[in-house]
């Protein structure tokens, strides 16, 4: 059994290693016909840029993207600055050099990798999946009897902020930086999943398809780990199934199939303001121009945020979204589960959390109001501020860096819910509803708490659960995503997530159940 685990680990690392090398290798040779086609498609009017690429890129062989993309970037830079100088504004190319390189690179790739997509998929994703499963599945036997399986978490390097954790931290950050800011280096990855993409949407894969596919794969494999670890806990089993279903079907398959059916790409469960560009001009226009389905999406997206989400939070707490449906939550609950203990429980971090998460909400709502004002009044500025620069700032700082790079990259060191806790504007919105108008609570079982601290330690949202439980108080916190782990790890059966009447939901106590009845009433009713 142990041997199987080791073999699994080696296979996984081999797959990961090959995957990691891919951005730096490969041969690129851009055919004239492909180039022409691209120019046509993009409507490039800069003859300077075309000439430069014709001369320096088309027909030549480049080994590695690092030799190709700087040439494209330099040509673009030169062409644009000349056009600016000559005031030929219609010729300026606004597409980023990295995106052009990614586009052209995708067409230019030749040689072993694009010619052996299936084999390469097996050598990367395949090895990774098989290896990881081989590493995880023996736990069915090795973990022994059903029960809480947290032995050794704080002795293991990987889960106790050792060097492995730091390595994963830097790897994830590098991966996200590449994905968001250097997509041209992801070209080789896109070949691996081209067959899958073509079978779904009919189009070759882009780097976001790679990410989407990978996201589903990682969640599924780590979901298997969740099933094994929490197999005695039916709440966790059902919840894990739910997040997997919504990720794979709603976030991945349906949008791709919609594209095949000439419909807009849309994730029906991704609610504004997490889906921060839903009300952006380009999206509104594209939806309005997409006929009935576009209008339906527009109505659905608005109703989802304004009615469905808060009503569901009233009945079930924000868990129905954050730990049952949401994609970010889904990754946190599967890939992030081994790191949940790292969220800080200090009062200081709670203070920071409240400022940050509500700040992002204000930012998102403010930006959207500006956007809508600009859209309906057809101006580019509001009170002298350019709407597009606010949008770009949000996309960069919140959409890419906070949600992506920090959101996932920080898992191994700062816990698996950094984004959800400190940054997600939707979570902040749901939090208000949960705190002030909801039937959800975590009930504390009378006086049974022994202050052991397992609940607080394993709370991914950094809630000091014990602080409430040891006072006999129910836990009513806007940030609780209802993952149910506090209840699972409690050795005394003190915590229960439940939906019940609003009356008595918040129950401050000074003296706990079990003591002198008169004393309890005297003190608690004061």
């Amino acid at each position: 059994m142990k041997k199987a685990k080791y073999i699994g680990l080696i296979l996984f690392l081999a797959g990961l290693g090959i995957f990691t090398i891919l951005p730096f290798i490969g041969t690129y040779s851009l055919k004239d016909s492909d180039f022409k086609e691209w120019v046509e498609e993009k409507g490039i009017k800069s003859e300077l840029f075309l000439e430069a690429l014709d001369k320096e890129v088309v027909g030549q062989r480049f080994s590695g993207m690092n030799n190709l993309s700087p040439i494209i970037a330099a040509a673009l830079d030169k062409a644009n600055s000349t056009h600016r100088k000559n005031k030929e504004y219609n010729k300026i190319i606004y597409t980023k050099a990295h995106d052009i390189s990614a586009d052209l690179g995708k067409k230019a790739g030749t040689g072993f990798i694009p010619e052996n997509k299936g084999l390469m998929w097996w050598l990367t994703f395949g090895l990774g999946i098989v290896g990881a499963l081989l590493f995880i599945l023996p736990n069915v036997i090795l973990l022994g009897q059903k029960g809480i399986k947290n032995n050794g978490i704080y002795h293991a390097n990987a889960t106790n902020r050792g060097w492995i954790a730091w390595l994963v931290f830097f790897y994830l950050i590098a991966f996200y930086l590449l994905l968001y800011f250097r997509p041209e280096y992801a070209v080789n990855w896109t070949y691996l999943v081209d067959p899958i993409s073509e079978s779904l949407s009919g189009n070759p894969a882009g780097h976001w398809f790679v990410y989407g596919f990978m996201y589903c794969t990682v969640m599924t494999v780590m979901g298997v780990r969740m099933y094994i670890k929490y197999r005695h806990n039916r709440y966790q089993m059902i919840r894990t199934t739910s997040v997997l279903f919504f990720q794979i079907v709603f976030a991945f398959l349906i949008p791709e199939i919609m594209v095949r059916l000439q419909m807009p790409y849309y994730d029906f469960k991704n609610a504004f303001p997490l889906d921060y560009d839903f009300f952006f001009q380009w999206n509104l226009r594209s939806l309005i121009n997409s006929g009935g389905i576009g209008i339906f999406i527009l109505v659905w997206g608005t109703v989802l945020t304004l009615i469905i989400v808060p009503v569901m939070v009233y009945f079930f707490g924000k868990r129905w979204y954050c730990s049952w449906v949401c994609g970010c939550g889904g990754l946190a609950e599967t890939l992030g589960d081994p790191y949940r203990q790292h969220s800080s429980k200090t009062l200081l971090s709670w203070r920071v959390e409240r400022w940050l998460v509500h700040g992002v909400l204000v930012f998102a709502v403010g930006m959207t109001l500006m956007t809508l004002y600009s859209f309906f009044s057809e101006t580019g500025t509001v009170l002298g501020i350019k709407t597009s620069s606010v949008q770009n700032t949000y996309s960069l700082l919140i959409g890419s860096i906070f949600a992506g790079v920090i959101g996932t990259g920080f898992y191994p060191i700062f816990g698996n819910r950094v984004w959800c806790r400190f940054g997600c504007p939707l979570a902040a919105y749901l939090g208000f509803v949960q705190r002030f108008k909801s039937r959800f609570r975590i009930t504390t079982n009378g006086g049974q708490c022994i202050s052991c601290g397992n609940c607080s330690t394993y709370c991914e949202q950094g809630i000091d659960v014990r602080a409430y439980a040891q006072k006999g108080e129910n836990i009513i916190r806007s940030s609780c995503v209802g993952c149910g782990i506090c209840s699972a790890v409690c050795p005394r059966g003190v915590l229960k997530l439940e939906n019940g009447p609003e009356k008595g939901r918040i129950n401050p106590t000074q003296v706990l159940l079990g003591n002198d009845v008169d004393l309890m009433h005297l003190v608690n009713d004061k």
Partner: protein
């Protein structure tokens, strides 16, 4: 301003300090030799098992004490001089008090076994003992076998801890079945099975005779009363605890097993109180023992004594008995009184139900003449404290409890429910025809 000094920073002392702070502006000093800050003793096992770090067992952040003006002194109290209202510390200045609370807890029992003070022999109560265990039993290479002596709650926790590092464990239990001085037979038997399922070498009806030493004075084996010698590197002595009060001998404070207190938690000396594990009631309260070494009772005494010290003299009057524990993977809760077969009272009748596959069972005790519900032990099913507390107060019959059992279920959502099976089994055993009612939020939150 009056000064309240509390010896001991466990749950009792700290609860007292917190409540005194809420009720008054008195100066509060807590003296402890064990640790700088309050930690949850019951959580020490999870540190060894790697579920938590030691800092996670501390329920309050370090700034809490200063903010609440609770002074912490690290030192060992050698002597209480009540005539001068002064504490003499080992290597610290004397501390004067106006009121003194003794909350020094327990220490592991040692019954004079030969070899009980050897290296590699220890109990598991204090932070220091946890640290010692980490030294003597870091892994299965350094510790090829551990022998645990004493089949109580600490013994089984120590066994679970050592097993978490794959250290082979032999578990010597004096009784004929695990904890059967407290648990009825069926439950005790289920725990026996569960212990063995965890590959713990359980030896029932077996006593320790002596611990043998190697040349360096370390424990190398134990000899049992079955004539067997078991080689080991670690001996865990977990045969119960006893009040930690030896520093009070000849202090003038009346001692028995513990510090003798009346219902107001007052000792024979004015302005000196004792709470928690180290306090001994002059007369037992209800079915309770005179010394209650339980987390919850320590906390309740702390809540109570704070009122007395702050001028609202209050009797310690605990409500209905409750307790909880975890036996390896099986959670246990108890509400009211369910006695073991040997201690059962003549009017106490039991209904026992056990799941045919899972390690789940309950036992309910009731009065055989009027069917009044007396208490429940539940294993593997979480139950709502408030419901049982209310039913006990209202003096409900077991039939009523059966009928409303679903209101008391506290298992996580989507868990299998066993109320129907339980009630069916009760119906066939006692020829009743009870139908369990659906769970009702209205009833659950009736008085809340």
């Amino acid at each position: 301003m009056e000064t309240v000094v509390i010896i001991g920073n466990g749950i009792s002392g700290v609860t007292a300090a917190r409540h005194i702070r809420k009720l008054s502006d008195k100066r509060i000093i807590i003296v402890s030799a064990e640790s700088e800050y309050f930690f949850s003793r019951t959580a020490l096992m999870y540190v060894y098992m790697g579920h938590m770090k030691f800092e996670h067992t501390q329920p309050y952040e370090n700034w809490f004490w200063k903010k609440n003006r609770i002074e912490l002194v690290q030192g060992y109290v050698n002597k209480v001089d009540h005539e001068n209202k002064q504490l003499i510390l080992n290597d610290n200045d004397p501390i004067n008090y106006d009121q003194l609370i003794i909350a020094t807890g327990s220490k592991p029992n040692r019954f004079g076994w030969p070899g009980q003070d050897l290296k590699g022999v220890q109990g598991l109560y204090s932070k220091q003992e946890l640290e010692q265990l980490e030294i003597d039993a870091p892994d299965k290479e350094a510790c090829n076998r551990a022998v645990i002596v004493g089949g109580g709650l600490i013994g089984i926790e120590l066994a679970e801890m050592l097993r978490s590092r794959d250290i082979p464990v032999t578990f010597l239990v004096r009784e004929s079945s695990f904890w059967n001085g407290v648990l009825p037979e069926g439950e005790s038997e289920m725990i026996n099975e569960h212990i063995r399922d965890h590959h713990i070498d359980l030896r029932l009806s077996t006593n320790l005779v002596e611990i043998l030493a190697d040349e360096e004075g370390r424990a190398k084996a134990v000899v049992t009363d079955k004539g067997e010698t078991i080689a080991c590197n670690l001996v865990g002595l977990t045969a119960g605890v006893t009040p930690n009060i030896s520093f009070l001998e000849n202090s003038g404070i009346e001692l028995g097993k513990g510090v003798k207190v009346n219902r107001y938690l007052e000792t024979n000396i004015p302005d000196i109180y004792a709470i928690g594990d180290c306090a001994e009631q002059e007369k037992a309260i209800g079915n309770r023992r005179t010394v209650e070494a339980v987390w919850y009772t320590g906390r309740m005494m702390g809540e109570t004594v704070a009122h007395t010290i702050c001028g609202q003299r209050r009797k310690y009057s605990p409500g209905h008995w409750f307790n909880s524990a975890k036996f390896l993977d099986i959670e246990y809760q108890t509400y009211g009184w369910v006695f073991s077969d040997q201690n059962r009272r003549e009017f106490e009748e039991h209904f026992h139900w056990r799941h045919d596959k899972e390690m789940i069972c309950i036992t309910m005790a009731f009065n055989s003449s009027d069917k009044k519900f007396l208490g429940i032990n539940t294993f593997g099913i979480r139950m709502r404290h408030e419901m049982f507390d209310r039913w006990l107060t209202e003096g409900r019959t077991i039939d009523y409890v059966m009928e409303h059992l679903r209101d008391a279920n506290f298992d996580p959502e989507f868990y299998s429910q066993y109320e129907k099976e339980i009630v069916d089994s009760y119906n066939s055993a006692f020829e009743t025809n009870i139908k369990p009612k659906k769970k009702s939020w209205k009833r659950i939150f009736k008085s809340a």
